[in-house]
Symmetry: C2
Subunit: 261 residues, 2 copies
């Protein structure tokens, strides 16, 4: 008997940590569920807000965990920022508060990545090498007219050893000293990352479902753009969260495994 | 003929940069005005929001510029923070986002300055050595219950070569990643720095005048506590600033020189 799926959609977008895996461990059955979707001709892509790893690292991790994935099917906030900024100001000189994977993505998209303040954009990201000198360069750049764009709005990032500061820390510091607000944040829950993902799948929003563990990013964003939304309870949102009724995902699953019957 | 003064007050509090000097240059006549006040038996002290220099460095700078000043007559945000925190939680373990002058002041006041997150307070200041590791230590400390206190609210600090990021950048980063708001900011326009200064002079607010170049700190704070307020136009506030009429300092002088007639 062929498998049946909880929803009929042709395109499937998956959040990663808390949805497909937790840290270094696959969510049990996630591999079989995704394999069944693919075998039935559905298209699958993976979304991440984290700009501190390359898309290739995500593809290799998924493959190692039993979900063979080409790099093109991984869409993270670094890629989305580079693509979005290429539409706004192709090839512009940029100063980056960010790590090498983001800098590499920007260079690959033709941007001139500079280490001084003579730039048209300051790109702000989750940056474990953030320091006062970068904050000062951002200030000087903005005082000369540079604009602000950021990868993701997350306050902290969960790791095996606890939460660590994420992009919101760098963004707040730059906004506070410059007195300017970041114009665009491309990562979840921005529609920009979803638009890039839909374009990658070549589908419209109504043809797609998004699966994630965070109500305020994955589910809110999906509903806003008209995708079907699937909340899984393997991540940050507990079953008893009162916001579930309020935000009302189309489907609630205890695990990705239950996508396939 | 003995000099006459623009106001009869016995205690005089002076802002420094923009009021007494600009960068490395004395405001012409500031030395004579302060000498005349002292000669007439008035008491004088100097206030600074900057925690990155020691009080001794300020005293020596004033002395070098022709205003002989003992270290006790300099009241900066590092001293005020240490005194205020000593009232709240004497000898507590603290983690400091700040530079050696602040750390020295805290040690002198009996605090246990630690480099890990096992503390009761995170002290946030203007810190040119701020980095991601400090931001992370602050986050871990707050997650374990530490409270937040800051030296000064300034967005940027003017230098000879332009404005550089000040304490607001560090504060905003910590607030953004922790989700907690700083409980106390002791520097101008907080009443705390004025209370420390009045206690140092041994006078009440109505016996004192405050002289400064910033409406939103020196003047607003002085009016709020009932000191006479004197705006000088040698610093950041231009003569035509529409807020002058609104905030209404008791006296407006083109320069400190005009305090004495």
């Amino acid at each position: 008997m062929p498998p049946t799926f909880a929803l009929p959609h042709r395109g499937w977008l998956f959040d990663l940590d808390g949805t497909v895996y937790r840290g270094q461990s696959l969510v049990p059955g996630a591999d079989a569920a995704i394999a069944a979707l693919r075998a039935a001709g559905r298209r699958v892509a993976f979304l991440s807000n984290k700009p501190i790893q390359t898309r290739d690292e995500y593809a290799r991790k998924l493959t190692r965990l039993g979900i063979p994935t080409p790099v093109d099917d991984v869409i993270n906030s670094s890629l989305v920022l580079a693509r979005h900024l290429a539409r706004l100001d192709r090839g512009a000189p940029v100063f980056v508060i960010g790590e090498p994977p983001l800098i590499g993505e920007l260079r690959d998209h033709g941007f001139e990545v500079r280490t001084d303040h003579r730039v048209r954009w300051v790109v702000i990201a989750f940056d474990r090498t953030f320091d006062y000198a970068k904050l000062n360069t951002a200030l000087q750049a903005v005082r000369q007219g540079a604009r602000l764009i950021a990868t993701n709005p997350d306050r902290t990032c969960p790791t095996e050893s606890g939460e660590i500061p994420d992009c919101a820390g760098m963004t707040a510091a730059v906004e506070a000293v410059t007195g300017h607000t970041v114009e665009v944040v491309v990562g979840k829950p921005s529609p920009i990352i979803l638009e890039v993902a839909l374009a990658h799948l070549g589908m419209t929003a109504s043809q797609c479902a998004i699966v994630g563990d965070r109500l305020e990013t994955d589910i809110v964003m999906g509903k806003r753009l008209g995708l079907a939304t699937v909340l899984v309870l393997t991540g940050i949102t507990p079953a008893g969260d009162p916001r579930i009724a309020e935000i009302a995902p189309d489907l609630i699953l205890s695990s990705l495994r239950d996508l396939v019957r």
